[in-house]
């Protein structure tokens, strides 16, 4: 029983970083109804800038953290202006395709900065394990979990206690009705995009500092994990992102313990496949999708 609990706990901790990645993804998808494939590569740009400062000038960890988040936001805003700001009929597909093109651009820019496959990344902790009764906890994982809880709580307050949050929720529900209420949809979307990239930047920094290295796979990895976790939870659902991330983490760690590391990703894709067959909208998605479609009525006004 103890090993099972230990594995589940590890899964929750790993999953909290997936949850953060998915949170950024879901925020963008919820607000824009469009998929940002450049989400991971934006995080990579920030992380690589931080790494550059770290290995060239021995920048302290907090500077690396700030640069990683700020760089991710900058790259995110760049992607938004290029691929997502233009609205209009057919913009959804165009955004997705162009965000794929920008993916390549951002990844290549990062690789020009630091061409080797992997580099060291500063750790937040000394690496000593904490014991909680019979269980063992990695402190850097604990930080991940704490960050996920804190960011989720902060995002909840932002969404439900501020005027900006009210506008954001209105856009998520119906962007045309939001604009008719006087909400500046474009500027709110840009801010949401920057916020999502910042959350992604935090997630990227925490994962890298737990791994103590950064590799050229980061962009792909972050897009993939965030996307899968969001799909499990439900497209564009904020609670779904967190739950999807945790579910993904727990499945991955359990299957790795049971069947070995080769099976880890396979199990995650398998679960996603089964879930999408049984419940295409994801855990939180189905009800939301059909309901918003029913209430939207004038669906033809959602893409303009």
């Amino acid at each position: 029983m103890i090993p099972f609990i230990q594995t589940t706990l590890d899964g929750v901790m790993v999953g909290s970083s997936y949850g953060l990645l998915a949170l950024g993804f879901a925020l963008i998808f919820g607000v824009m109804r469009r998929l940002n494939l450049s989400y991971g590569p934006s995080i990579m740009v920030g992380a690589y800038l931080g790494t550059l400062l770290y290995i060239q000038f021995g920048a302290p960890t907090y500077v690396v953290a700030i640069v990683a988040v700020a760089g991710s936001v900058m790259a995110g805003v760049y992607v938004e202006r290029l691929c997502f700001a233009p609205l209009g009929v057919g913009a959804g597909v165009a955004s997705m395709v162009s965000s794929f093109a920008i993916w390549m651009q951002l990844e290549q820019a990062s690789l020009l900065m630091l061409p080797r496959h992997s580099y060291p990344f500063p750790s937040l902790t000394s690496g000593e394990l904490l014991s909680v009764g019979p269980l063992v906890v990695r402190p850097d994982y604990l930080i991940m979990l704490a960050a996920m809880l804190a960011i989720t709580a902060a995002l909840h307050l932002l969404l439900y206690r501020t005027r900006f949050g009210l506008g954001l929720r209105a856009i998520i529900e119906n962007s045309v009705a939001a604009s008719l209420s006087g909400i500046d949809v474009r500027s709110t979307m840009l801010k949401a995009f920057a916020l999502a990239s910042a959350i992604g930047g935090v997630a990227g920094f925490l994962v890298l500092s737990a791994n103590q290295q950064v590799t050229a796979m980061l962009g792909m990895w972050a897009t993939l994990k965030g996307l899968i976790a969001m799909m499990i939870g439900g497209l564009g659902s904020i609670p779904g992102a967190i739950v999807g991330g945790l579910v993904l983490g727990v499945i991955e760690v359990h299957s790795q313990t049971l069947f070995g590391p080769q099976v880890r990703d396979l199990a995650a894709y398998g679960v996603l496949f089964v879930l999408l067959v049984l419940r295409p909208g994801g855990i939180f998605g189905t009800a939301a999708v059909s309901e918003s479609a029913a209430h939207r009525g004038g669906d033809r006004w959602t893409t303009t």
């Binding site: 009929v89 005027r163 009210l166 506008g167 929720r169 209105a170 529900e173 119906n174 045309v176 009705a177 939001a178 604009s179 008719l180 209420s181 006087g182 909400i183 500046d184 949809v185 474009r186 309901e291 918003s292 209430h295 939207r296 009525g297 004038g298 006004w301 303009t304």
Partner: protein, 242 residues
């Protein structure tokens, strides 16, 4: 009579298909102007163009002489034009109160906004009862009231309404039209799209008829009721008093 909202030669197209082929009309200050027309005539397209959601290919839309074409929907709301859209489009997952707050998004004085919300509750008592309920759980009539109240929260000088009677029970429709007349008595200029000409005749001061993207009739309620073609198409063949 002074024109509050003046639409001149507006062309709006979806791709190559022109939905509005040069529409000119105006809504006078303090009056109810009604736009009639069959499905697909371009009435909703016109409303969405005035509100800034759709960009016209040519033409001008002026509010008290100020050009609205080219402004974002949010700026147009800020200029004093609010649209109650077709199908209401309330925010279903937000409470009634939050829907009203969203309508006042650009206003900064929270005290005034709170006072206006109380005023909406007085005007629309069902909204007060359900103020913490999610808007998606309201009945059609209540959602229509909410959509009107949400638009009024921006304190518009011109209220655009796109088929407020759509899908509502006759008794509820009567209530909604009572509200429209009342708002107008309080000085709000109203520009209304309606399919139900009988109802519109009871409140509106001026009528336009739109067919296939063009204005084909403009006149007073009396002239509308006299027009043989309109009588047959929109007022039915019954010999009831018009």
């Amino acid at each position: 009579m002074e024109a509050m909202l003046e639409i001149v030669d507006v062309v709006t197209a979806y791709g190559k298909i022109e939905a509005l082929k040069g529409v000119s009309l105006s809504a006078n200050r303090g009056r109810i102007t009604c736009l009639l027309g069959p499905n697909g005539a371009g009435k909703t397209t016109l409303m969405m163009t005035v509100a800034g959601v759709l960009k016209p290919r040519q033409g001008s839309i002026k509010l008290e002489g100020n050009e609205l074409v080219g402004l974002s929907p949010a700026r147009i709301v800020g200029n004093g034009v609010a649209l109650v859209p077709e199908n209401r489009l309330v925010f279903p997952q937000m409470s009634v109160r939050e829907n009203l707050l969203a309508g006042a998004y650009q206003r900064n004085s929270s005290g005034e906004v709170a006072a206006d919300i109380e005023q909406m509750y007085t005007r629309f008592p069902p909204l007060k009862e359900r103020r913490e309920q999610l808007a998606g759980t309201l009945s059609g009539g209540e959602q229509q009231m909410l959509a009107v109240a949400r638009a009024l929260m921006s304190r518009p000088r011109v209220l655009l309404m796109d088929e407020p009677s759509l899908g509502l029970a006759p008794i509820v429709v009567k209530e909604i039209f009572g509200i429209i007349a009342e708002l107008n008595r309080e000085g709000v200029t109203i520009f209304l799209v309606e399919q139900n000409a009988h109802l519109a005749l009871q409140v509106a001061h001026h009528f336009y008829l739109m067919e296939q993207g063009r204005v084909t009739f403009s006149g007073t309620p009396g002239e509308l009721a006299e027009d043989e073609v309109i009588k047959r198409a929109y007022l039915g063949t019954r010999r009831s008093a018009g």
